[in-house]
């Protein structure tokens, strides 16, 4: 499918789609998103009641869905949904000993609230789904779009990710030794050589079309696998390239999910070594922080990069490789617009 519109809210200045330079510096363990002014996008009344994940998701989606009234699917990936609202509601349950509670936190915290809100705000009754499969939540949203397009002959689908930093998921993950105990920043994170990473958040939205003349990038294929054995990442890499009839020489750009965690970064090194012909090796978690759906931010950056390349007749491929906690692994293959 073809990516024809992109919009992102992230810890970098992405909302204008003009590139991420100069880079916004983040220190410490939490890379918070730079939220746009939502006035004109979400009504003040609605905005007041929305948690961060909901407003980021809707804020990123609205510029696309209001421009395209003929969208035939709204598909999101979010590992945790509105976790901040969810735990606030939980705390009220405990604090008031299961007394009378306002349902707002309960209703708005469910991960499917964002896709539901986008549908009701635009009166769009088409296919609507929310995938919550941790480090494969966004990937399954992408796959869902492929399935919808191929089986229902659908042309235009909104696909995106939403994950927020909440105090609570930070506390839970910190106790699970997922974040660093020492101070790092954007520039030192990936060289830290210590266990743990930093926490990030984003909402990246894409309009995917089955057919398009003008587009940012074509999504050629996705491969997802879990709990690989020792050589399986390399095996899956070679099989993925073979399935798409390309060789390592054809991959000119690579996005790798290095997150500075000394326990798992070795997996990225393997793919970096295999992609020795690539002219550009990019990292992205030093910009956006780690979160289960951060690969969506890599798709955003890669789309922007491919879009800005000068025209050539040589097919230009970008490979994205990411893994979450070394449990859930993904390859995504993109092709530039100027390919022969």
């Amino acid at each position: 499918m073809f990516i024809t519109e992109i919009q992102a809210i992230s810890p970098q200045n992405t909302y204008t789609n003009k590139g991420i330079n100069p880079i916004v510096v983040h220190n410490g363990n939490r890379y918070y998103a730079i939220e746009p002014n939502y006035s004109g996008i979400i009504s003040p009344n609605q905005l007041r009641r929305m948690g961060k994940s909901l407003r980021m998701g809707i804020g990123a989606a609205m510029p696309i869905v209001t421009k395209h009234s003929d969208i035939q699917g709204i598909i999101l990936g979010s590992a945790d949904g509105g976790l901040e609202d969810c735990i606030k509601f939980l705390n009220q349950i405990v604090l008031y000993n299961e007394g009378t509670l306002s349902p707002t936190g309960f209703v708005q915290s469910t991960p499917n609230a964002a896709a539901g809100n986008i549908a009701s705000m635009t009166k769009n009754s088409s296919h609507n789904c929310t995938h919550v499969h941790g480090g494969h939540a966004f990937e399954n949203a992408l796959l869902d779009a492929f399935l919808l397009a191929e089986t229902q002959q659908v042309e235009k689908i909104l696909v995106g990710n939403i994950d927020e930093i909440s105090d609570f998921n930070y506390s839970i993950e910190m106790q699970g030794n997922w974040f660093k105990t020492e101070e790092t920043n954007n520039t030192t994170l990936l060289e830290s050589n210590t266990p743990g990473t930093v926490c990030g958040e984003s909402a990246c939205m894409f309009l995917l079309q089955s057919h398009a003349l003008h587009y940012y990038a074509q999504i050629c294929d996705i491969d997802v696998f879990s709990f690989p054995e020792s050589n399986e990442v390399e095996q899956r890499f070679h099989a993925f390239l073979q399935k798409n009839a390309i060789t390592t020489q054809s991959i000119s750009r690579v996005y790798l999910g290095y997150n500075g965690d000394s326990r798992y970064d070795f997996q990225y090194k393997k793919i970096e070594t295999l992609c020795s012909y690539a002219s550009n090796i990019h990292t992205f978690k030093n910009l956006v922080g780690e979160h289960p759906t951060s690969i969506a931010f890599a798709v955003y950056l890669a789309s922007l990069e491919l879009h800005n390349l000068p025209s050539t007749n040589i097919p230009c491929y970008t490979l994205i490789y990411n893994q979450y906690k070394n449990n859930q692994h993904t390859f995504i293959l993109l092709r530039g617009k100027n390919s022969a």
């Binding site: 709204i74 590992a79 949904g81 969810c86 509601f89 939980l90 705390n91 349950i93 405990v94 000993n97 299961e98 009378t100 509670l101 306002s102 349902p103 309960f106 209703v107 708005q108 469910t110 991960p111 499917n112 609230a113 896709a115 539901g116 809100n117 549908a119 009701s120 009166k123 769009n124 009754s125 088409s126 296919h127 609507n128 789904c129 929310t130 995938h131 919550v132 499969h133 941790g134 494969h136 939540a137 399954n140 796959l143 492929f146 399935l147 919808l148 191929e150 089986t151 609570f168 998921n169 506390s171 839970i172 106790q175 699970g176 997802v224 696998f225 879990s226 709990f227 449990n327 859930q328």
Partner: protein, 392 residues
């Protein structure tokens, strides 16, 4: 391409196995009572479809040795998953095949351990053993790891239609040849979190629920896990074909976060899609396993949808009057019941209802010829899904 159902597995308040569930449905024995294991002040005020075993006793039913501490949600999922793959005679090698997909669903995940989550999220005391297991996807990943699954795995959360969408997603993976075999379904266990959430919306009944009664007064929450194995001609070969998944439809009601629209937009649209995919006309439906939560809004709008879709409404019932509303597991549990109805040519009536909204509401057990069954699931945020099962 025909999608065959070759395995079923479920555990609910009315039985630990598919056979026990069927026996309870046939004998009209519901499982709604005060809760014994749910930690909530409402445990003895409201009726629940609780599975009547402690976590320790449920763990004894597992045939595997788990890698980690399992939540109640994980345990229930494991039990139903094991039954479904056993009936479908899937070998360990077939389950590990890269072409075997596992698509699950949940809305509460490990949050059933509400007190531990409260402590962990607020950094009270030392971390609980469930620290990595609160997420909706935890049970899916535990099972994928346990069975060394190498194909596509996924977890869907579209509220109360979650596992119906897991089945729809599995169907499309088969149709596009991204998988040759799919195990799909879902799980949810009772949790203080959801009990208080639904209670804050004032839609929990104080008595066993009365779906499609003119005086219906709300739902009962329940817990369950249910999975179905789906295969195509190439993989199911000589295996018994329990039923065919002939159609599925997904639509958004695009109206409200916790209520369905008076126009029944999503309700009508998802059924129309399922019928269209199956190449069927409304009058060919022999039975509807309705969503039928027994809330004023759901049953009213679902019924309005029936009036728009059918000239003569076929026999319909809501098996939530046996199990309670099992949320993310409901679509898959009712898919299992729909397949049972087809396999055994029998229909399970709605219980507790005394003033039905329509004469087609089934109120007694009947046997009759059944070829096509429609199963509906609707979730908060307008997520509406219909599945259509047909005789193999």
């Amino acid at each position: 391409m025909n999608i065959y159902i070759t395995g079923l597995g479920c555990i609910s308040a009315i039985g630990n196995t598919v056979a026990q569930n069927r026996e309870s449905l046939r004998s009209q024995k519901h499982g709604l009572q005060y809760a014994k294991y749910l930690d909530s002040r409402y445990a003895h005020e409201k009726y629940f479809g609780e599975i009547p075993y402690s976590n320790e006793d449920l763990l004894k039913k597992l045939s595997i040795t788990p890698h980690t501490e399992l939540t109640r949600t994980d345990i229930l999922a494991h039990i139903a998953f094991a039954e479904s793959i056993s009936q479908a005679q899937l070998s360990a090698q077939e389950i590990s095949d890269t072409n075997t997909a596992f698509i699950s669903a949940s809305t509460v995940g490990g949050m059933c351990h509400t007190q531990e989550l409260y402590n962990d999220a607020n950094c009270i005391g030392s971390p609980s053993p469930y620290i990595d297991s609160y997420n909706c996807s935890s049970h899916t990943l535990h099972i994928a790891q346990q069975y060394a699954m190498r194909g596509i795995t996924n977890t869907i959360n579209t509220a109360c239609s979650s596992s119906a969408n897991a089945i729809l997603y599995g169907m499309r993976l088969l149709q596009t040849k991204r998988a040759t075999r799919v195990i799909a379904g879902g799980v949810d266990s009772l949790a203080k979190f959801t009990v208080n959430g639904f209670n804050s919306l004032q839609i929990i009944s104080n008595e066993p629920c009365k779906p499609f009664d003119q005086q219906r007064n709300g739902l009962n929450l329940g817990e369950a896990a249910a999975y179905i194995v789906m295969e195509t001609e190439t993989t199911c070969k000589t295996k018994p074909r329990l039923a065919v998944l002939s159609g599925a439809g997904n639509a958004s009601d695009a109206f409200h976060s916790s209520a369905l629209s008076e126009e029944a937009t999503g309700v009508v649209q998802c059924t129309e899609q399922a019928l269209q995919q199956a190449g069927l006309l409304p009058h060919q439906i022999d039975y509807i396993n309705a969503h039928g939560t027994a809330t004023d809004n759901n049953d009213g709008v679902e019924y309005k949808g029936f009036l728009q879709l059918f000239t003569n409404i076929p026999p319909f019932s809501s098996t939530k009057s046996y199990t309670g509303h099992t949320l993310g597991a409901a679509g898959a549990l009712e898919a299992v019941y729909s397949v049972l109805a087809i396999m055994n040519q029998e229909l399970y009536p709605t219980l507790h209802t005394t003033n039905p909204m329509h004469s087609s509401l089934l109120q007694k057990y009947t046997t009759q010829q059944i070829t096509h069954v429609l199963s509906n699931s609707y979730g908060f945020s307008g997520n509406c899904t219909s599945l259509l099962f047909s005789k193999a």
